[in-house]
Each structure stands twice: as structure tokens, then as C-alpha cells.
């Protein structure tokens, strides 16, 4: 057999063996294919940042046509639901807030309609439960928008000639209904890959260190690069399978669009996966121990991907040290590239900086892991 043939044969033997490990221990497979589905359902249905029927307490002390119209405007928005009618202001609202029956309260003081009719300022109080800051901020935005629309309607009714001085029309591009699933699916792909790829590869190599089978392998004439590539190839394939799974489910269940090229999307994913696999390998080479490898993988892959990638928390809002730290988190570039490809239809012309960053990360990780993956035992 030619040297090239022998080399290929060795790599394939390793891949085949690794594939058998994966198939023999269905837990790995369940985890690899089950977790994306479960996470997609959780993030798709349960964890949504869209507000839907937030319970609202209403105190209309005015009971004028104007005040009723304002209450109706809140009710018909779909964002708020009139949950309780309050009879007196502060104490009762406080009680409901404490019991969690309402998350917001609309308080209209007596004389609201009269003041408006006279062309003066009408006073309305809007209280929000601030314990959940994200929800409160979103609710506040909606409340402001409802009040503004109400105001415009009033103005046009009062004096037809008077046009509002500024008419800002906001339109959300790429995600007109501001659906959070569309925003979350790219992040979810990154999270699943970062977690699973780093964890699975670090465990698989650490297991061989622990059992001593790697020593047995090192005593064969197989080259370390052949051992590495052969071992890692099945995990890269598994990662690509996960990407396709999440994409398929996201498209079918949540109508997540893929406006750009699927080929570029998969290519970018491949580069990201290579980086994750390299990271997992580096962890296992340094720890040589499954338990430690799991912990290090969770800390170095899961945490940054959830917290510092822009998946949930916008990077622009972070203090500068965290922003600086986020520049070495590969998921940051991957999520940004994915969102670009999927939602904006971006291609290589737009995503090349992210792609370059991902490529750099992958090369650094694989080179470091390869260098540490010594043939000789110490």
C-alpha cells in the first residue's frame, strides 16, 4: 500500500472507531440530537421577550369618555390585559404587585377628561413592577407608544389643521414583527455547538488518556495528526448535523428565514465547529481527566457563549472590560455572521471580518492542541 493510502487508512480506522463509540453509547447521540430540539422548544416557546397580555391594574377615577378611550387603547394593544379594577390608588396597587397579580398599573386621576377638553395637560400615572427589568423596559416602551398614539388621535380631533411637528415612523427591518425566535435561533445554534462540540471532544480524548488507550495508540506507527483528524472528524460531522437539525426545526416551527446562501451558512458553521473541536481538544490535552475536562469546558465554552456573545445581552451595553473580553469569544462572531446571513441575506462581502475572526480562532486552537498533543508521554 502507498504511504498516502496507509495514511488515509489510519485516519479512517480512527474515525470508524470513534463513530462506533458514538453509536454504541446512545446517550451521546441522544444528547447531541435531543438537546437542540429541547432547547429550541424552550427558547422558541417559553423564553420569548415578546410581551403578551401583561396583567394590568386599572384605576379610572375620572370615568370620562377620554379616560375610557385611553384604557381601551391599552386593552386593545394585546400587550396589556386589564386584570384588576382598582378602587383606590397606592395601597391596593401595592398589594396586587406584591402578590404578583398585576405587573403594571394605569392610574387616571379625576378631572383628566376636563383638563384635556380645556386644552390643558391631563395627568396619567403608569406604575410598573421593576423586579423583572427586561419585561419592565419593554412594557414601558409599549406604554409610551400607546400614550403617544392616543395623544396624536386627540390632537387631530381637537384641531384638524394642527399637524404634529414631528412624525417619526419606525419600521423594523429584517424582523418586522420583532419576533424574538428569529433573533434567538442563530444564537441557539452557536450555544448548542459551543457546548456540545467542546464537551464531547474534550471528553472523548480525556477518556482515552484516562484509560491508557491513547498510550497504546501512540505505540503504533500512526502519526499524531492522523490520530487527531481521525478522532475529530466524526464530531465535526455530528456538529453539522446539529446545525441542519436546528435550522430545519427553526424554519418549520418558527418560520425563521434563511435569506442568504445556505452554503455560506454551513461553511461558517464548519469553521466555528473546527474552533470548538480545537478548544475541546486543547482542554483534554491539558487536563487528561474527564471530570476536570467537563468543568473547564463548561466554564470556557458555555459561560462566554451565553453571557458575552451577544446571544441575549447586547455587547454594546456592556462595560468596556467585558466588551474587550468578548472579542475573544468566537460565538460573538459566529452569531453576528449567522444573523447577517439568515436575516439580512448577507454574503461573503459582508461577513468576511467575522469569518476571518472565526478562522483565526480555529487555527490558534488547533495549532495549540496539536503542539501539546505530544507523541511521547511525560
Amino acid at each position: 500500500m502507498s504511504p498516502a493510502g496507509r495514511s488515509l487508512r489510519r485516519t479512517l480506522a480512527l474515525s470508524g472507531k470513534e463513530l462506533r463509540h458514538i453509536v454504541r453509547d446512545p446517550r451521546t447521540l441522544y444528547l447531541a440530537l435531543g438537546m437542540p430540539v429541547v432547547m429550541l422548544f424552550i427558547f422558541g416557546y417559553a423564553v420569548t421577550f415578546d410581551l403578551d397580555r401583561l396583567p394590568l391594574g386599572v384605576l379610572d377615577a375620572d370615568r370620562s369618555p377620554e379616560s375610557r378611550e385611553l384604557v381601551r387603547a391599552f386593552e386593545s394593544s394585546g400587550v396589556f390585559q386589564r386584570a384588576w379594577d382598582l378602587s383606590n390608588a397606592a395601597e391596593e396597587a401595592e398589594g396586587h404587585f406584591h402578590r404578583g397579580r398585576i405587573q403594571g398599573a394605569l392610574v387616571i386621576s379625576p378631572g383628566f377628561g376636563r383638563e384635556l377638553g380645556a386644552g390643558r395637560e391631563g395627568q396619567v400615572q403608569f406604575l410598573l413592577d421593576g423586579t423583572d427589568g427586561v419585561t419592565a423596559a419593554i412594557a414601558l416602551g409599549y406604554a409610551g407608544a400607546i400614550a403617544k398614539a392616543y395623544q396624536l388621535r386627540l390632537l387631530s380631533r381637537l384641531s384638524l389643521e394642527l399637524a404634529p411637528p414631528l412624525d417619526a415612523r419606525v419600521r423594523l427591518r429584517y424582523n418586522p414583527e420583532a419576533r424574538s425566535t428569529i433573533f434567538i435561533v442563530p444564537g441557539l445554534i452557536a450555544l448548542i455547538l459551543a457546548l456540545m462540540m467542546v464537551l464531547l471532544t474534550s471528553l472523548s480524548v480525556a477518556r482515552e488518556w484516562e484509560r491508557g488507550s491513547l498510550e497504546q495508540l501512540f505505540a503504533t506507527p500512526a502519526k499524531r495528526l492522523q490520530i487527531l483528524i481521525g478522532k475529530l472528524l466524526p464530531y465535526v460531522a455530528l456538529g453539522m448535523l446539529q446545525v441542519l437539525l436546528v435550522l430545519a426545526l427553526g424554519t418549520l416551527l418558527f418560520q425563521v428565514p434563511v435569506r442568504g446562501s445556505l452554503l455560506w451558512l454551513l461553511g461558517t458553521a464548519l469553521v466555528f465547529i473546527s474552533g470548538c473541536v480545537g478548544q475541546g481538544l486543547l482542554i483534554s490535552v491539558l487536563t487528561r481527566n474527564q471530570q476536570l475536562a467537563t468543568q473547564v469546558a463548561a466554564i470556557t465554552a458555555l459561560l462566554p457563549t451565553v453571557l458575552l456573545s451577544g446571544f441575549i445581552f447586547p455587547i454594546e451595553n456592556m462595560p468596556w472590560p467585558l466588551q474587550a473580553l468578548s472579542t475573544i469569544v468566537p460565538a460573538r462572531y459566529f452569531i453576528s455572521a449567522l444573523r447577517g446571513i439568515m436575516l439580512k441575506g448577507n454574503g461573503p462581502a459582508e461577513i468576511w471580518p467575522q469569518l476571518a475572526a472565526l478562522l483565526t480562532f480555529a487555527l490558534v486552537m488547533l495549532a495549540a492542541a496539536n503542539a501539546r498533543f505530544q507523541r511521547r508521554l511525560d
Binding site: 487508512r9 472507531k17 462506533r20 454504541r24 491508557g212 488507550s213 498510550e215 497504546q216 505505540a219 511521547r376
Partner: protein, 311 residues
């Protein structure tokens, strides 16, 4: 004398930080020989074997395996040796056949050659009927034989076996040693480490390691002759009786106690069982002449190495 040396080691030393695991070890092994490496855990056996297999670089000294300097070209060494590491290193979730298939692939064997060789070896190690079983479910002795088969796939000239029979029952050990002897008859050189002294009797020559140094090197009989001159007796005394009556007798070389039993070594021709019985009186329950075994040699060597040797 005899055929050429396939393993030549001179002044081999390996340090781990400030600890010296192997110190100035020199020996050579001839082709077709079964060479036993004996010693307690931590005596430096595994470190030596790893250096010879190209897995570990020596700190000092030279080691040539199959004519190749292991420090200079460890990769070339790996092609002509088979190695069975101390830990059980097959994949327990693969079948016996799949394990062989995998290691054959790692050695770069072609698919057809591998299938034929695999079948041949499975039959040879007595696993033909169980080749489709998951390795983890096979009994320890069979796994050990399978690991040997895996190390022999590529027809190596030299086999390095590091504690191949640790943790298996005596019958499984015997069948394993039958395989070792069969390989040696075919001209394969076998370098085997063990701490089971009864196994060491099967070796052509034995090197005794203690504290990283090679303390003795000879055939089993040669070792017994040079380290245990004289005759040996096995004594059993009734409890609470002392052996002191013998200790002061002229011609007594050494008394080793093992619970209520003793191993007594004396100058040749000076004692017989009757005389010993007479000396011990009613305390003697059992007195018989025995052949010295390697356990006795080992104890003697270790004792001498520690500088406590009785003159």
C-alpha cells in the same frame, strides 16, 4: 553466543524532575528470547519499557531496538514492535473483532490482509467463537489474550508486554504464557515485565530491578545458584515456639520467616531433615528440603540492594 541482539541498552537513565526512575541500566536481549523484567511496583520496569517502545525519551544513555536508536527514530521502532501497556488498553465498547480491525487500521494494514490476519489471531488466542462479543463482557483472561492479538497484528519482531497477566486468575495466566512461548518459538523476541515470581520461571533470562537499577541478570537457575548458594529447607514450628535454637548453629546462612513457617538456607551438606528435627525438638511440626524459587532470589537481591545483606 547465539543469535544477534535485538535489544541493546547501555547506561539508560530516565529522570522525572528530581526523581530518577531508571538509573544506568544496561543489558541486551537476543532474538527469540523470552526476557523477564522483574521488580516491585515503582522499580522502573514500566519506564524502561516505555523508553524501549519510543513512548518516552531517555534522559541519558542509549537504547537500540531492532537495530534502531529509539531516541533518534522512535517512529521506526514502532513499526517493528508490538506493545501491550500495563493498563488494559482495548476499547471495551467495541467487539473483539472491531478492536482488532481498529488496531490493524492504526498499523496501516490493508483491509484484506487485516481480515485474514485477524481471523488467524482470533483462532490462535482462542477467541474465534466470541469475536462478535463486546470486549467489556469478556472475562479478564480473554481480554488479555485479545490485547496480545492486537499487539501481534503487524507481525512484530519484538513484543513488549507490561504486566500482561496482572489481575487474571492462574489458569488464564497459564494459557497466556502458552501463547508467549508459542510466539517465542516462532522467533519473536518477548520482553515481559511481571511481579509474579512463578511466571518468571518461564523466562529464558531475568533482569531484576530495584529502585531504578538493574540488580541482577541471569537465567532463573543461574540467579538461584549465585544468590542462593547452599540448600533450602521449609520449616513449620508449633506456635509460640522460637527458632532461636537454629540461629546460632554454624553453617546456617539465612532464616526468613513467613508467619509460622520459615525458609532456612544452610551451607550445602551440613544439615538434613533428621538433624534439624533433632535440633528443634518437639517444636518442629514439619521439616522438608525444598528447591529455592525466584521469590527467595528476589528477597535476597532486594535485601542486598538495601545494604543489609547477611555475610
Amino acid at each position: 553466543m547465539g543469535p544477534e541482539a535485538v535489544i541493546e541498552v547501555a547506561g539508560l537513565t530516565r529522570r522525572f524532575g528530581s526523581f530518577t526512575a531508571v538509573q544506568q541500566v544496561s543489558f541486551s536481549v537476543r532474538a527469540g528470547e523470552i526476557f523477564g523484567f522483574l521488580g516491585a511496583n515503582g522499580a522502573g520496569k514500566s519506564t524502561t519499557i516505555r523508553i524501549l517502545c519510543g513512548l518516552l525519551a531517555p534522559s541519558e544513555g542509549h537504547a537500540c531496538v531492532a537495530g534502531i536508536d529509539v531516541a533518534r527514530d522512535p517512529e521506526a521502532v514502532k513499526r517493528s514492535i508490538g506493545y501491550m501497556s500495563q493498563k488494559f488498553s482495548l476499547y471495551l465498547d467495541l467487539t473483539a473483532e472491531e478492536n482488532l480491525e481498529f488496531f490493524g487500521g492504526a498499523y496501516g494494514l490493508g483491509r484484506r490482509a487485516l481480515r485474514q490476519r485477524g481471523r488467524e489471531l482470533l483462532a490462535r488466542v482462542g477467541l474465534r467463537e466470541r469475536s462478535a462479543e463486546i470486549t467489556g463482557r469478556l472475562p479478564g483472561g480473554m481480554r488479555q489474550r485479545l490485547a496480545l492479538a492486537a499487539a501481534m497484528l503487524h507481525r512484530p519482531r519484538i513484543l513488549f508486554l507490561d504486566e500482561p497477566t496482572s489481575g487474571v486468575d492462574p489458569r488464564a495466566r497459564q494459557s497466556f504464557w502458552a501463547l508467549i512461548r508459542e510466539a517465542a518459538r516462532e522467533g519473536v523476541t518477548v520482553f515481559v515485565t511481571t511481579h509474579a515470581m512463578d511466571e518468571a520461571e518461564f523466562c529464558d533470562r531475568i533482569g531484576l530491578m530495584a529502585d531504578g537499577r538493574l540488580r541482577a541478570l541471569d537465567t532463573p537457575d543461574g540467579l538461584k545458584r549465585s544468590f542462593l548458594p547452599g540448600e533450602m529447607f521449609h520449616l513449620e514450628l508449633s506456635p509460640d515456639r522460637s527458632i532461636d535454637a537454629l540461629a546460632s548453629q554454624p553453617g546456617v546462612l539465612r532464616i526468613e520467616s513467613a508467619g509460622a513457617a520459615y525458609r532456612l538456607r544452610v551451607e550445602a551438606g551440613r544439615f538434613d531433615p533428621e538433624k534439624l528435627r533433632a535440633l528443634l525438638g518437639p517444636a518442629a511440626v514439619r521439616v522438608e528440603r525444598v528447591e529455592p524459587d525466584l521469590e527467595d532470589v528476589f528477597l535476597e537481591v532486594v535485601t542486598q540492594a538495601r545494604g543489609e545483606a547477611v555475610p
